[in-house]
Each structure stands twice: as structure tokens, then as C-alpha cells.
């Protein structure tokens, strides 16, 4: 599904990624671990075509992401749901509206929005918080809205960049469980984290990155640094 072919990314003279080769199969749940500044976020940015590699190619379903014209980029991004550390919700919209907004932007009909948003809120255990604004939600709840927004357009892959770094253990556990549930429904999940508890709770493939290079790739690995 995803293939990084000898990818390097440099900013001026500093290398963020160096000669990275990585493949991820459909329906896999992959934890990408490493210290801050190891290159995890750069790798994710290359995957969502927010950055272009200095060398090498990034393939998504056999299509070189770098070859996508600007006019096709939004179609590509609809295949990937993205969750960030800071949730990035719109503060003036309720939980329901934040998710509905993502569907509107993707061109879904009003009928689809009315039927799908309640289902997604239920999936992320937030049916009772539908009319709450981000300010009225806890960190974990905000992150669950962000996950709901990421999966609302039925992406083939969900990428989560440090989704639990601001959360307490209970909320962290909830987020991991939701991501596992999404993966069980058939969506590929790639989570970048430096939280050992998260990696161990997931208990699936672990790719370790250090100073821009992949140093370990364990099928059912643990967090080892």
C-alpha cells in the first residue's frame, strides 16, 4: 500500500530523513517510534504530500505521490485521515459541526452528513457531547473528535502524529482502543509516538527511527530505544 523508496529529505544542509526504505501493507497497524526530532513528522508530511522528498520516491498504491499534480492532491488527501497532537478542531464549531464540516469540505451531501455524523460520534464514544464546543471538551475528547473527523470520509489510511502526548493514561488508553477498533474495521493505521505505553498497548509492528534513519523494524515489537 505504502512504499518509501530510498527517501531522503534535507532542509538546507541538515538531513531530516536519510535513505529511508519502508513498506506498509493494507490493514496494518504500524507504530513509528523515535525521539523528538528523529524524523517521524517529516516522514508523515512526505506521506500526505505536504513536503516533497529531496531524493527517492513515496508510493501510495503504486502511485508516486510526487508525481501527483496539484489539481489531484485533494483527491489523494481524501484517502488519508490525519490526526495531530493538538487535535486542530475549529473552536467556533461543536463536536458535531467539526465532523460535519470535514464532510462538507469533501463534497458529501446533507443527507450523508445527517446519517454518518451520529454514527461516527458513537464510534468515538462522544454521542452525548455532540453539541459541545472544543472548549467544553477534555483533551481526550477533543482527540476523539479529531479521530472522528479523520475517519468520516472513510479513508484507506489513518495517520496519527503523537495523538496521546498531551493525554493522561486513561485517555491515552481510550485513544489507542479507538485506533485499534478503526484498524479492525479494515483501515490501515500509522501512529507516530514516543509513548512506550501506547506502543506496548498496541502490540503490533514497530518501526524505530533515529536521526533520520530506520534503525529497527519489528513485526510484533516493543518500544526499544
Amino acid at each position: 500500500m505504502i512504499y518509501f523508496d530510498k527517501v531522503s529529505k534535507r532542509y538546507n544542509d541538515s538531513a531530516a530523513l536519510e535513505d529511508v526504505t519502508l513498506s506498509i501493507a493494507p490493514k496494518e497497524f504500524v507504530s513509528l517510534v523515535g525521539h523528538s526530532g528523529a524524523g517521524k513528522t517529516t516522514l508523515l508530511k512526505l506521506l500526505i504530500a505536504e513536503e516533497r522528498p529531496t531524493e527517492g520516491s513515496v508510493f501510495f498504491e503504486s502511485v508516486d505521490v510526487n508525481d501527483l499534480p496539484l489539481s489531484a492532491l485533494h483527491f489523494y488527501r481524501r484517502k488519508i485521515g490525519m490526526v495531530f497532537q493538538d487535535a486542530r478542531l475549529i473552536p467556533t464549531k461543536t463536536a458535531y459541526e467539526n465532523i460535519a464540516f470535514a464532510m462538507e469540505a469533501a463534497g458529501r451531501t446533507d443527507e450523508e452528513i445527517e446519517s454518518d455524523v451520529p454514527y461516527i460520534l458513537e464510534l468515538v464514544n462522544l454521542s452525548d457531547k455532540a453539541s459541545h464546543f472544543p472548549d467544553e471538551l477534555s483533551g481526550g475528547e477533543k482527540q476523539r473528535v479529531a479521530i472522528g473527523r479523520a475517519i468520516i470520509n472513510q479513508p484507506e489510511m489513518v495517520i496519527a502524529d503523537e495523538p496521546t502526548s498531551n493525554l493522561d493514561p486513561i485517555n491515552t488508553y481510550e485513544i489507542v482502543e479507538i485506533l485499534k477498533k478503526i484498524n479492525e474495521l479494515g483501515t490501515t493505521v500509522l501512529i507516530a509516538t514516543h509513548n512506550k505505553g501506547v506502543v506496548d498497548a498496541v502490540g503490533r509492528r514497530v518501526v524505530t527511527i533515529d536521526r533520520g534513519r530506520i534503525v529497527r523494524d519489528d513485526a510484533e515489537g516493543k518500544y526499544v530505544m
Binding site: L70, R88, P91, G107
Partner: protein, 308 residues
Amino acid sequence: MNKTILKRVFASGAKDFLRGGAVSAATVLIMTVTLSIIGALIFLSALLSYTLGVIENKVDVSVYFVTTATEQQILAVKGELEQLPQVASVTYTSADDALAAFRQRHANDQLTLQALDELGGNPLDASLEIRAKDPSQYEGIVNFLSASPALSPGGTSIVDRINYAQNKDVIDRLSVAIGATREVGIAVVLVFALASILIAFATIRLAIYTARDEIAVMRLVGASDAYIRGPFLVVGVITGVVAAVIALLLFIPAAWYTGMQTASWLGGFSVSGYYATHALFIASVLIGSGIVLGAVGSMLAIRKYLRV
């Protein structure tokens, strides 16, 4: 772009316009001033064209003949002139008729009549008043008269004078005034149009900044370029249309008041009447200009600050 997306783009644009508050109002205000100047220029241009038309319609060429010219000779000249394709009509006024008309015109001016009596005889010349089919053709008629002067049997010209030159001077000066007014008007409009575009540009830039969270999410979920950029173009267009509507509404009392104040010295030109009969044309020009100004300002801001 389907109907649902189009509806959402317009709704989002309207929301961004309202969210702009005082900044949107300021943009509308400056654009209203610009469009009002454009509208005022339309009125001024119409007034000057009307005045020019009135003067041109009053223009004729009067050929005065020496007192020794016989009626037969004058009528012969009249016949020749009537053969010219550019001549609409030629009216003969004999010296006696001219004298009678003069006396009637000055019936209440005893001093003038007394002076006329003291001169004895008829000092006035017989004349031909020539009207051309088109005002621009007078020069050709005068050239014809100059090139083939009607001569008396003695060999001297029977034409005393031709009064066209004085009228031509007035028409030329008015034409220059109209041209100058239009040029100055266009220059003023260009300056205000530039100001409007710059302010619309700044407004859209602020709207883009205010909506940065929404834009980030839209990018994230794969919204199309048109969906992300469209609302900001709509803001510019709404600004232009609102400004045009305000300008058009302001012109109603302005045209009525100006019409009342100037009816006596505009030579029959009715400002409010012109507005009533040309409302569609003026509305089209102002709304079209508003849309163009708003859209250009928006496009520049979108290109600079909204890279998708």
C-alpha cells in the same frame, strides 16, 4: 462544482463577509465612493453630450449677401446649395423680411427703432440659413461656398459674410471640454479603483487569516481548491455588489435634488429623468464595476496568501 458545493461556497462567503464586520463595512464604503464617482461621470458625460447636441442642433450656416445682390442671384445660390447631398434645408430671408423681423424683435426698444429710422432705408442683408443633415458637414458646405463664390455680373462676390466660424469655435471648445472631462474623470476613477482593489485585497487577507483554522481543516480532509478559495472570491463579489446597490440607492435622492436645483440652467436636461430612463444601464455599469473591483482584489489576495 456541483449545486451542493456551490451553495456551500456562497454560504461560506456570505458568512465570511458578515464576520468581517467593520472591515467589510470600510471596504464597502470606499468601493461605494469609487462607484459613485463612476456613476457621477456617467451623468456628467450625459449632460455634456446633451448640451453639445443642443448647441449642434442650433447651429446653422448663415450666408449674408451684399445689398446689391438681386433676389434672383440669391435664389440661384439657394438652388445650388439644395443640390448638395449634405444639405438638409436652405431658408431664404429677404432683406425686407429681415427688417420686419428685426422691428418685431425690438418692438419694445424705441431707441433701437429710432436709430434704425434715422439710418434710412434697409441696412440689413438678405440671407440664406443652411442646415446640414449632420453637424460635422457644415465645414464641407462652407468650403463649397468659398470654393465657388457666387459672383455678380460685375465680377465681385455677392456673399457679404458667412457666420459659421463663430459657432464652430463654440462647438470645438465644448468638444475639448467633454474630452478633458472624460480624461480627468477616468484618471480619478482609476485612482479610486486602485484604492478599492487594495482595500478589498487587505480585507480578504484578513478574512483568510481569520478563517485559517477552517482552511487548515479543509486542506486536511481533501477539500478542492475551488472549495477552499471560492468563499473568498464570493466575499469580494458581495462587497462589490453591496457597494453598487448602495451607490444606486444614493443616486435616487441625489439625482432628484440635483435635478431640482439645476433644472433652470441645464438647458432642459433632467438629471432624475436621465436616471429613470437609463437605470438599467447605470445599474449594469456600477454592479459590473463593483464585481470586477471586488473580484480582482480577492484574486490578488488569494493568489498571495492562500496557497492550497
